[in-house]
C-alpha cells in the first residue's frame, strides 16, 4: 500500500492530483509563513485504494447509468446519490490505512477536529464546486474514519452530480483527498472577499462571532464591511460604524494578508479565517466566486434549519391554509352578483398565488427532512437497502390520505351490509357527503363524471378488500436508537423525517382543498357572465375563457397521448420505489374518471399520482409511475399499502396498455410486459 497520509504543511510539495486544490492552497499558505491550523492530508491514493478494494467503481458506474442522466428528475438524482453514499459508508476501510490513520490522529493534541474535502480540480476559477462537497467540524478522533468516508461519498452528492453534468465533467472517475485539521475555536471568524463578487472595485469582509460554520451555512446573519479595494483609509472609516467584532488591528492584519495573498496566488481570492487570541488563522483560500456562484443559496439542510422551517409550516402556514379553505367553503356565493363574484375571485386568486408561493419556498424544501434522516439512519445502521429508513417514517397511517381511505373503507363495509335492503337515512347522507368530498371540480382538469352510482360501485369493490396498510416496525426504531451515538439527537432527526414524510403527502391535500374552492367560485361566476365578457385581469380572463389550470394537476401532469410505434417494450427499467413483486392486469389512468374503472388487484399505470387520487389504492396490487423517485407520492402510498412500486418509467402510459399482463418488481425496479411472443 503506497503512502497516503502526509502532514498538511508538506502539501505544497505534492501534486494537486494527490492533495486536491484546498489542501495544496493551505500548503502554499504554510510555505509562505501564514498561520494555518495543524493538520494532515489523506491523499487521493487512499480514496482510490478504498474504491478498488471494495469494487465500488463498477457498482457506482451501474448506479449512475441506471437511466440516462438527462432523463432523471432531481429527485431521482438525489436517490442515486443516496444509494452511492450508502455503498461507500457501508464499505470497510483497509486495515493498513486504519492503522496509519490511528497513528496520525494520535499526534493531534485535541479531540476537536475539522474534516474537509479537497478534490482535485475544485476551487478553480473554471470549476468552483462551492458547497457541493462535504466538510465536518468538531469531530472527535474516534469518528474520523466514518467522516472520511462521508467526505468521499460527497463526490456524488446531488449538487456535485448536477454540477458535473452541467459542466460536462466525468461523473464516475473522480478523486477526493481529505484534510484533517485541529479545530481552532476562534473568537471571531469570517470570509474575506478580496474583490466583491458583484464588482471589482470593492472588498468585503463578512464576520460572525465564534466558528465560521454559521456564516457558511447561512444560519447566522454576519456583520458586513465593504470598502474601496486597496484603500486602507476607507476601510478604517467603515470599520468604526459597521463592526464591533473585529478590532482595527485585526482588520489591518486582514487587509495586509489579503494584499499579500493576492500577489502570491496572482488572483482575487475568498479567504476563510478565524481570529484566536489575536492570531489570524487561515482556514481556506480559493479563487473569488463569481456573482452567480455567490448568489447560489443552498436549501435548508441542517436539523436546526429544518426544525425552524417545521415550526413555520405547522404553526403559521397550515392553520392559515385550513382557516382560509374553511372560510371559502362556508361563504355562500350563489346569491352574489357577477361583479361581487369577480371581486371575490380576484381576492381568492391573489391569496392562492401567495399560498402557492409558500408551498414552493417552504413546503417543498421541507421534504429534505426525509433524506436528512435517511443519511443519519444509513450512517448509523449501514443497511443493505439504503431506503430501509422509510419504514420508520410512516407512523401507522397518520397521513391524511390514509385516514381518508380508512374512513372510506369503513363506509364501504357498512354500505355492503345494506346492499340488499333499504339504506338507512343516516347512512345515505354519509354516502352523499363522502361522494361530494371526492367529487373534483370540473375546472380542476377533470370531466366530473363521478356520479353517485359510480361512487357506490367503487364502495362495492372496496368493501371486498382488506385494509393492508403497513404498520411501522418498532424493533427497527428501537435498534436504530440503541445504535445511535446520541439517541436524543437521533430522535429529533426521526421526528423531522416523519413530519417531512407526512407533510410531503398532506400538503397537496391542503392546497387541493383551496384550489377546489377557488375553482368553485370560478364555476359560479362563469354561469353568471355573458359569453363575450372580458376580464381586465389576464389570468382570470384566461381561466374564464379556457377553464382553470390546476396547480396540482399541472404538477402531476397528464400523460402524453399515445404515439404509434412498431417496437414493443418487453422489459423496462425504472426506480425500485416500493419493495415486492406482483403480476396482474395493467390499468392505465389518464384522468380522474379512469380511477373508477380500476378493478381489484389491477396494477395502476399512470403519469404521476397525487394524494387527491389515492382513494382507490386499496384495490390496486401494484403501481407503475412515469415520475421517478423513492419519495414521490406514488412511492409513499405504495409503501403505506405494501404495494410493489416502480417509478421513473419513461412514457409508462404509452408503452403499457390497459389489459396487458405486467409484472412489477419493486426490488430491482424492473417492469415486465408479458405478451404472446415467439
Amino acid at each position: 500500500m503506497s503512502k497516503s497520509v502526509y502532514p498538511l504543511k508538506n502539501a505544497a510539495k505534492l501534486s494537486e492530483r494527490k492533495t486536491g486544490a484546498k489542501a495544496r492552497n493551505l500548503g502554499i499558505l504554510h510555505k509562505n509563513t501564514f498561520a494555518i491550523p495543524r493538520g494532515s492530508i489523506i491523499t487521493t491514493d487512499a480514496f482510490q485504494q478504498f474504491i478498488n478494494r471494495n469494487g465500488l467503481q463498477q457498482r457506482i458506474g451501474m448506479e449512475l447509468n441506471r437511466k440516462a442522466f438527462h432523463d432523471m428528475r432531481l429527485e431521482e438524482i438525489q436517490d442515486c446519490s443516496i444509494r452511492i453514499r450508502n455503498m461507500i459508508t457501508a464499505s470497510p476501510l483497509p486495515a493498513a490505512f486504519l492503522k496509519t490513520l490511528e497513528e496520525e490522529l494520535n499526534q493531534f493534541n485535541t479531540d476537536r477536529l475539522a474534516i474537509r474535502s479537497s478534490a482535485p480540480g475544485e476551487d478553480t476559477e473554471q470549476t468552483s464546486f462551492a458547497g457541493t462537497h462535504d466538510s465536518f467540524i468538531d469531530i472527535p478522533k474516534h469518528r474520523v474514519p466514518e467522516k472520511i468516508k462521508q467526505v468521499w461519498a460527497s463526490l456524488w452528492s446531488k449538487s456535485a452530480l448536477v454540477y458535473r453534468h452541467k459542466t460536462g465533467l466525468d461523473m464516475l472517475n473522480n478523486h477526493m483527498a481529505v484534510i484533517i485539521q485541529e479545530l481552532i475555536a476562534g473568537e471571531t471568524s469570517g470570509v474575506f472577499f478580496t474583490t466583491s463578487p458583484v464588482n471589482n472595485y470593492e472588498s468585503i469582509v463578512e464576520v460572525v462571532s465564534g466558528l465560521n460554520e454559521q456564516l457558511v451555512d447561512g444560519s447566522t446573519p454576519p456583520q458586513r464591511l465593504i470598502w474601496e479595494k486597496g484603500n486602507k483609509q476607507d476601510l478604517e472609516k467603515s470599520c468604526c460604524t459597521h463592526t464591533n467584532l473585529l478590532s482595527p488591528q485585526q482588520l489591518n492584519t486582514l487587509f495586509n494578508t489579503g494584499t499579500k495573498l493576492e500577489s502570491i496566488f496572482g488572483k482575487h481570492l475568498d479567504i476563510e479565517f478565524t481570529f484566536s487570541q489575536d492570531t489570524l488563522f487561515l482556514l481556506q483560500v480559493r479563487p473569488a466566486a463569481t456573482a452567480e456562484q455567490s448568489k447560489k443559496q443552498s436549501p435548508p439542510h441542517t436539523l436546526k434549519q429544518l426544525q425552524s422551517l417545521h415550526i413555520k409550516i405547522t404553526e403559521k402556514h397550515l392553520p392559515l391554509f385550513r382557516q382560509t379553505a374553511e372560510q371559502w367553503k362556508n361563504k355562500n356565493l350563489d346569491h352574489l352578483s357577477a361583479e361581487a363574484l369577480l371581486e371575490i375571485l380576484r381576492n381568492r386568486c391573489n391569496t392562492f398565488l401567495e399560498f402557492r408561493n409558500i408551498y414552493t419556498t417552504d413546503f417543498i424544501p421541507f421534504s429534505e427532512g426525509m433524506r436528512l434522516f435517511g443519511n443519519l439512519y444509513n450512517d448509523t445502521m449501514h443497511p443493505d437497502d439504503p431506503y430501509e429508513f422509510i419504514n420508520l417514517l410512516s407512523k401507522n397511517g397518520n397521513l391524511l390520505s390514509i385516514k381518508r381511505n380508512k374512513k372510506l373503507m369503513l363506509l364501504a363495509k357498512n354500505y355492503k351490509k345494506h346492499t340488499n335492503s333499504t339504506i338507512p337515512q343516516a347512512l345515505e347522507q354519509q354516502l352523499q357527503e363522502a361522494c361530494q368530498q371526492l367529487t373534483p371540480s370540473e375546472y380542476l382538469g377533470f370531466s366530473n363524471h363521478l356520479t353517485f352510482d359510480n361512487f357506490l360501485n367503487l364502495l362495492k369493490k372496496l368493501a371486498d378488500t382488506e385494509d393492508q396498510t403497513a404498520t411501522s416496525k418498532s424493533t427497527l426504531q428501537e435498534t436504530f436508537l440503541k445504535t445511535s451515538p446520541d439517541p436524543k439527537i437521533a430522535e429529533q432527526y426521526l421526528a423531522i423525517g416523519r413530519e417531512s414524510y407526512r407533510l410531503r403527502d398532506d400538503d397537496d391535500l391542503y392546497i387541493g382543498a383551496l384550489e377546489k374552492q377557488l375553482a368553485a367560485c370560478l364555476e359560479i361566476l362563469r354561469k353568471k357572465l355573458p359569453d363575450n365578457f372580458t376580464c381586465p385581469d389576464s389570468k382570470i380572463n384566461e381561466w374564464l375563457q379556457n377553464g382553470y389550470t390546476s396547480f396540482i394537476t399541472q404538477k402531476t401532469s397528464a400523460p402524453p397521448p399515445p404515439t404509434a410505434s412498431s417496437t414493443k417494450a418487453r422489459q423496462i427499467k425504472g426506480q425500485p420505489s416500493g419493495p415486492g413483486k406482483t403480476t396482474g392486469k395493467a390499468r392505465i389512468i389518464r384522468n380522474y374518471d379512469e380511477l373508477f374503472k380500476l378493478e381489484k388487484n389491477e396494477i395502476i399505470v399512470c403519469d404521476a399520482i397525487d394524494p387527491n387520487m389515492t382513494f382507490v389504492m386499496p384495490l390496486a396490487s401494484g403501481i407503475i409511475e412515469r415520475r421517478g423517485g423513492m419519495l414521490v407520492h406514488g412511492a409513499i402510498i405504495a409503501r403505506e399499502y405494501k404495494l410493489p412500486c416502480v417509478t421513473g418509467i419513461p412514457e409508462a402510459c404509452n408503452r403499457i396498455h390497459t389489459g396487458d399482463t405486467v409484472s412489477v418488481d419493486g426490488w430491482t425496479g424492473i417492469v415486465t410486459i408479458h405478451r404472446p411472443t415467439l
Binding site: 451501474m62 447509468n65 437511466k67 414493443k568 417494450a569 422489459q571 424492473i670 411472443t677
Partner: protein
Amino acid sequence: MTEFHAHLSPLLQNQKLGVLATVRHGYPYTSLVAFSVSDDTKKLYFATLSTTRKYENLKKQPQANMLIDSRSHQSSDFFQAAAVSAVGTVSECSTDQLHKLTESFLKKHPALKDFVTADTCVMMCLKVEKYILVHNFQEVTEWAPRQ
C-alpha cells in the same frame, strides 16, 4: 430514428460475429458465425460449410436465433453494452442472388474470401421475424420487421 434503431443499427453494422443457436437432438447448439445484414435489416447472412453440424441442424429444423452484442469484456459492459437476438427462419440463399450477397458479405469480411468461395461453402439467410434488443443492463424491447 427510434431509440430502438439507434441501438440496433450500430450492432448490425459494426459487429462482425454473432452466436447462432440451432437445435440438435432437442438441445440448443451454438456456433460463432461471421454475418452481414441486408439494407432493410430484415435479413442476416452467414456462410457455412455444408458438412457442418449447424448446417445439418438447420436442414432438419430451420428455426434459429442469432445473438449479436457489443461487449468489450469490461465491467462497463453492464451499462454500456447492447445485445440483440434475431429470431427467425434460415434457408440457403438462392443462386440468382448469390453473387451480389457474397460480394456484400466479403466487403465486411475480406479475410473470408477463400472460405466463402469454396465449393462446399453455402451462403445462408436468416429471415428475421423478431429482434429482441437488450441495453442498459435490463431494458428489453422487441421489433418485428415485416418481411
